[in-house]
């Protein structure tokens, strides 16, 4: 866990974006939201985040591509990127881990599950 508790939540679905933000804020995070991959990249260039929760199926830049570009842009800095997705099959998890995500948070999420993951980071 870094000292900086700035988190970026990226999801095109407003409800799910809000849920993740709400939960993180409950856990004491400062959260900025983005509704697309491009927006996330723009924000990431302006701010310093230690955590990104990234939806996968989004219009425009996909979650994986966004992850790749974030990793490229933030190279050398500690950044935890969690996949925040409704893709629940085991092969999806493997694919995402391979794409550079630190872990996968499968929808529907619970506070307990989120806390466990954040603990592991």
């Amino acid at each position: 866990m870094t000292d900086s508790r700035n988190a970026l939540v990226v999801d095109d679905h407003p409800t799910n974006r809000l849920l993740a933000s709400a939960l993180l804020r409950k856990l004491g995070w400062t959260v900025i939201e983005a509704e697309s991959g491009n927006a996330a990249l723009t924000l990431a260039a302006e701010h310093v985040f230690s955590l990104v929760m990234l939806d996968i199926s989004m219009p425009g830049l996909s979650g994986e591509d966004t992850c790749t570009q974030l990793r490229a842009a933030e190279a050398g800095r500690p950044l935890h990127i969690l996949a925040y997705t409704a893709h629940a099959f085991p092969e999806d998890r493997e694919r995402l881990l391979a794409a550079g995500f630190d872990d996968v948070l499968v929808k529907p999420i619970s506070r307990q599950r989120l806390e466990e993951l954040l603990e592991k980071l």
């Binding site: 679905h13 849920l19 893709h87 629940a88 529907p108 619970s110």
Partner: protein, 839 residues
């Protein structure tokens, strides 16, 4: 490919070469047989020909010999009868002489005149001498005879023109017929006696006394007294016997061997055997009463010189020589005369002519066989007395032996009546005793002799007593001489046969060689051509098999290409035959297969597309369901934490429960769908089994104990440290069953026991729930077949759990069993196979 090729060649060779070889073999066998037959037949033909030639030769020879023998016999018989007749004629002429003499006025002058008017030539050989080597006699001056022809032989007469020189009987000497002419008075006194030559006494005597007669042997006077007027008396041949010192050629060696001095002049004359010997001299006396005025006043007698009679036989030669001045007895060709008592009165060997002892006037003992001689000796009688009591021709046989004593003594006159070792005597008598003639062949004195006999038809006086007349002439002839020509021909034939035999043998050899050569040539030709044909057939077979199999090989490689994926490959159809049809059929099949493949691939693509779409659908559905559930469950939880009013919190919990149920439903539906579409992938990883089991048991223990149930976990000792299967799915199965057990049990306990049974790990979950009725024990494993009284609503089940458990267990190589009793409880057991290699 070599198989079909080999078989084709084999079949071809079998159906072509074997008959060819059989044919060749048969031909060779037949040819060999033919050769052997021809050889055999040629051999037997040659043998038969030779045998025929020999047989013909023999037959011809035999026939010739027989014909010649018959011809000769006929000639000699004829000669014999002619001689007999001539003798008879001669004797009859003497009858005429005596009649004329009887008519004469008895006076010496008249008698002298009478005698001088009667003479005949006597033919005799000239002087002979012992040859220089002393082994034969030879004439001092050999007589040369020559057939002269002083004119050309006409062509018409040229065939078998045969001429003979003038016949030569010997040196001629005109000799008076009679040696003596007498007139005897009625008292036997010789009143007139005229003699010629020196044979008889010149003084007149009384002939009553035998001692006053010729060789003191004449006894004619008593016979004269019996004569009537006109009757003629003819005496026997009377002469002194001339002994010999040797039988056969009288030569110094023979005499020396006999231990006698060589005095040929003192021994009997014997023709060529002793041409200088002493001659037998004899007479035959004719007599007739001299009647004057009806009264017999005396008797006139005429003593015939016996030499004149001998002339008829001594000069005869029963060969092509016809006549001879000197007989050659040793050769067996000679004539001789026997008198009416079968006594020899003419013979080339003078010692064989019977005669009288001039001292006693008694007959000299004739030659007897050894037995008769011994018999005579034993009798002690004079021979003439002894022989008078012996039957004539007694048991004559060639087996009897002549008396050697007589040979030694040299007295061997032949009296056929007692010459018993000479059976021809009996034969001659058989032929002539009734006046006839004839012949037979007898082996005698080492020669096969034809011997003829002819009665002398002279029956005057005492000779009229028997049809045999005066006696008989016999001629002996060496049979071999007759058929000399035939035997010479036979010898020639035999020579020819031998030549022919040799020729035939050579020809036969040549023929056999030729046959053998021909057979060899045929064999070589036959087998060479057969082998050539076999070679050609095999070559054709190989070529044809190659031709056939080349196409088949091409076809097979084409098929292989097709089989290995070149589905565009087609066979070349280059002929209209079965192979072409096969290619066409294959091509049609290939078209069809290609079409099928195309359709299959299309179908497969469609199926894959469908599967992809299904997977995409499942993923999308899962994604789309989870997205709103995230909001529902997440905000419900947040809301629950915010609310203080318990009633409101209860509502939020209901939202959370419903959302959770929906999430379960979504998860299980997706799992089943993935299993059924074959998209679920099962991992095979080794993991620590006990650890997993305890972790699972802990979760459910909490739930069970919260519910007031007893939860027991029994893990067997023999469980392996690591188990290989998909741990996620195993966890899913056990969670499902354990949560069901806890869920459906209101009181009592849940027992989770894991043990090893045979090759399986058995996971058994026993509860003390209500139990499952038998009729439902199978259906509960089907989708949405949860029991009525355990509705989802009450227990939060999806109705898909057991279906998923069974499906998972099946796909992991295991199975699920259920034992249950209503009101007691249920036991679900999952068996999964133990991977022995990781035990």
């Amino acid at each position: 490919m070599g198989g079909i090729r080999g078989k084709l060649i084999g079949i071809f060779v079998l159906i072509k070469v074997v008959p060819l070889l059989l044919l060749a073999g048969f031909a060779w066998y037949a040819t060999s047989q033919l050769g052997a037959d021809v050889s055999t037949k040629a051999g037997s033909m040659a043998d038969a020909m030779l045998s025929t030639i020999k047989s013909v030769g023999q037959t011809v020879t035999d026939d010739s010999i027989r014909a010649l023998d018959q011809r000769s016999r006929e000639a000699i018989e004829s000669l014999t009868t002619n001689a007999a007749k001539e003798i008879a004629d001669f004797l009859h002429d003497r009858d005429a002489d005596i009649r004329q003499a009887a008519s004469l006025e008895p006076s010496e002058a008249a008698f002298r005149r009478f005698l001088s008017q009667r003479s005949r030539p006597i033919y005799q050989h000239g002087p002979w001498k012992l040859a220089a080597d002393g082994r034969s006699w030879e004439p001092e001056q050999p007589v040369k005879r020559e057939a002269r022809i002083t004119r050309p032989v006409l062509a018409d007469n040229a065939k078998d023109f045969h001429t003979r020189p003038p016949e030569y009987f010997g040196e001629s000497e005109q000799r008076p017929l009679f040696v003596e002419m007498t007139f005897v008075d009625l008292d036997g006194n010789e009143k007139i006696k005229v003699t010629t030559g020196q044979l008889t006494e010149k003084s007149r005597k009384n002939v009553v006394d035998r001692r006053n007669t010729f060789v003191k042997a004449e006894t004619y006077f008593p016979e004269l007294k019996k004569l009537k007027a006109g009757e003629i008396y003819v005496s026997d041949v009377i002469g002194a016997y001339v002994p010999t010192q040797a039988i056969g050629p009288y030569l110094p060696a023979a005499l020396e061997k006999a231990g006698k001095p060589f005095k040929p002049e003192e021994s009997a004359y014997a023709g060529t055997e002793n041409p200088v010997g002493k001659r037998f001299r004899g007479i035959v006396r004719w007599a007739m009463p001299v009647v004057r005025g009806g009264q017999t006043v005396g008797y006139v007698t005429l003593a015939l010189d016996h030499d004149h009679i001998r002339q008829f036989s001594d000069r005869l030669m029963p060969t092509d020589e016809r006549y001879t001045p000197i007989a050659d007895a040793i050769k067996g060709n000679y004539a001789f005369i026997w008198d009416y008592k079968s006594r020899s009165i003419s013979h080339p060997r003078d010692y064989f002519i019977v005669g009288y002892d001039p001292q006693t006037g008694l007959p000299t003992t004739p030659w007897l066989d050894a037995d008769l001689y011994a018999e005579w000796q034993a009798s002690g009688k004079p021979s003439h007395e002894f022989l008078a009591g012996i039957p004539s021709f007694r048991d004559q046989s060639l087996k009897l032996k002549p008396a050697k004593e007589q040979v030694k003594a040299g007295t061997v006159g032949l009296d056929c009546r007692y010459l018993n070792f000479s059976p021809q005597c009996d034969g001659w008598n058989a032929l002539t005793e009734h006046g006839g003639s004839g012949s037979f062949v007898i082996y005698f004195s080492g020669l096969w002799k034809l011997t003829t006999a002819a009665a002398i038809p002279y029956h005057t006086g005492q000779y009229g007593k028997s049809p045999q007349g005066f006696g008989f002439v016999t001629i002996g002839a060496n049979v071999d001489e007759f058929h000399k020509a035939a035997t010479e021909t036979a010898a020639k034939i035999n020579l020819l046969v031998e030549e022919k035999d040799a020729n035939l043998t050579i020809q036969r050899g040549e023929l056999l060689d030729h046959i053998a050569e021909s057979l060899t040539a045929t064999g070589i030709g036959l087998w060479t051509s057969t082998l050539l044909m076999v070679a050609v057939v095999i070559a054709i077979a190989i070529w044809m098999a190659g031709l056939l199999t080349r196409r088949i090989t091409a076809m097979i490689s084409g098929i292989h290409a097709f089989q290995e994926g070149d589905r565009k490959h087609r066979l070349e159809v280059d002929s209209a035959d079965e192979m072409g049809e096969l290619s066409r059929s294959f091509n049609r099949m290939a078209d069809s297969v290609e079409e099928s493949f195309k359709r299959l691939e299309e179908a497969k693509e469609k199926a894959e597309e469908a599967s992809r779409q299904k997977s995409a659908f499942l993923a999308t559905m899962s994604h789309e369901l989870r997205t709103p559930l995230n909001g529902i469950l997440g905000f419900a939880e947040l809301l629950g934490n915010e609310l203080d009013n318990p009633e409101q919190r209860g509502y939020v919990e209901i939202i959370e429960q419903s959302g959770g149920h929906l999430l379960n439903l979504v998860n299980e539906i997706l799992d089943l769908a993935k299993i059924e579409s074959g998209e679920m992938r099962f991992a095979r990883v080794a993991f620590p089994l006990t650890e997993l089991l305890i972790e699972i048991a802990t979760v459910h223990r909490v739930t069970a104990e919260t519910k007031g149930l007893k939860f027991e976990t029994i893990l067997a000792d023999e469980l392996p440290a690591e188990f290989i299967t998909d741990p996620t799915r195993l966890r899913q199965i056990l969670n499902n069953l354990l949560s069901n057990a806890v869920k459906f049990t209101d009181a009592g306990s849940v027992v989770f026991s894991v043990s090893r049974i045979d090759g399986d790990i058995a996971f058994a979950i026993r509860d003390t729930g209500p139990g499952i009725p038998p009729e439902s024990r199978e259906t509960i494993f089907e989708k949405f077949k949860q029991l009525e009284n355990f509705l989802t609503r009450e227990h939060g089940g999806t109705g898909l759990g057991l279906a998923l458990v069974r499906q998972l267990a099946d796909h992991m190589g295991g199975r699920v069993t259920l034992e249950s009793e209503i009101g007691v409880g249920s036991t679900f057991t999952v068996y999964l196979p133990l991977d022995i290699s990781h035990d």
